[in-house]
């Protein structure tokens, strides 16, 4: 009886979702906002990657929200794991291959992450992606040297600095440009490294903050 009821419910839900979704015209652009972004985004912001100019300029406030969510997640993990003290219990030293490989790869991964977030306004990628790549670099260095620690205080200082400077730039935009995170710096020529006003600056800050935060999460979990 239960199974029949749940089956009937599933069918009803399926029919409901089918009729709701079948009304949506896929592949047709009905929104004029997206057209405006696609047509005028490069002109208005000077960033050749339109995704970046949407994420950091038109929807910069939402990005601040994402950063806050990540920050709260890191704090929550710290609160949950606060009581555990298992430092240096039974850490096996890794094999020579992992050891040497992590030493060799770590600077290159770091460089790649920095490249991704510095070129965020020119090529695909940006602060979040670059930060995640940097954190995976820290992960591999941890796997190679489990006993070595980076200072937790340093991580906190770096991530707080990133967040604070982001908000300060936003407030500066409010002061000079009239709205939060307005593009106050000169746009420059499109497709060069120094272009897009405040966008590269913000992406560097986001990359540093996300990288420090995710690396901190990994280090906290490994202990």
């Amino acid at each position: 009886m239960k199974k029949i009821i749940s089956f009937v419910l599933l069918v009803i839900i399926f029919i409901g979702i089918y009729f709701a979704v079948s009304q949506i015209p896929y592949g047709k652009d009905k929104m004029s906002v997206s057209k405006h972004y696609l047509n005028n985004g490069v002109k208005e912001n000077g960033a050749s990657n339109i995704v970046t100019s949407v994420v950091l300029n038109y929807r910069g406030f939402d990005t601040l929200g994402e950063l806050t969510i990540l920050f709260i997640g890191a704090i929550g993990l710290g609160v949950v794991l606060f009581g555990f003290e298992t430092k240096g219990k039974d850490i096996k030293s890794p094999s020579l291959i992992l050891n040497a490989g992590s030493t060799f790869l770590f600077p290159f991964i770091l460089l790649f992450g920095i490249y991704i977030f510095i070129h965020g306004h020119l090529s695909p990628g940006g602060g979040f992606q670059g930060g995640a790549v940097i954190a995976s670099g820290f992960l591999i260095s941890y796997l190679g040297y489990p006993k070595k620690r980076i200072s937790e205080k340093g991580i906190h200082i770096v991530e707080s600095l990133g967040g604070t400077l982001f908000i300060l730039i936003g407030l500066l935009g409010l002061l000079l440009g009239g709205y939060f995170l307005s593009n106050i710096l000169p746009k420059g020529t499109v497709n060069t490294l120094v272009s897009g006003g405040i966008i590269p600056l913000l992406y560097v800050l986001i990359g540093i903050k996300v990288g420090a935060e995710l690396a901190g999460i990994i280090y906290k979990l490994m202990e």
Partner: protein, 83 residues
């Protein structure tokens, strides 16, 4: 087109297998593979930004964090009827 269809089929099989498997470590590895295929599909759908985020966060960091969590707890899922 055939390549994309093949990828989607592998991804679906992987997702179902990772739900069925009793060994949690294998399930996490299969989940990471599903994430990786999702990243490739995002790239084919001309969303390289999302593909990069999915590959670095979904495939690398999430898998690592799950492996750490399994390392702290038990690897095999316990059968409830035996307890």
């Amino acid at each position: 087109m055939i390549f994309i269809t093949l990828l989607i089929i592998i991804m679906l099989i992987g997702a179902i297998v990772s739900c069925i498997l009793k060994d949690l470590l294998s399930a996490v590895i299969v989940g990471g593979a599903v994430s990786l295929i999702a990243a490739i599909l995002f790239y084919y759908l001309q969303a390289p930004d999302v593909a990069m985020a999915e590959a670095s966060i979904g495939a690398a960091l999430t898998t690592a964090i799950f492996v750490f969590a399994i390392n702290k707890t038990k690897r095999l899922e316990e059968n409830e009827e035996n307890n």
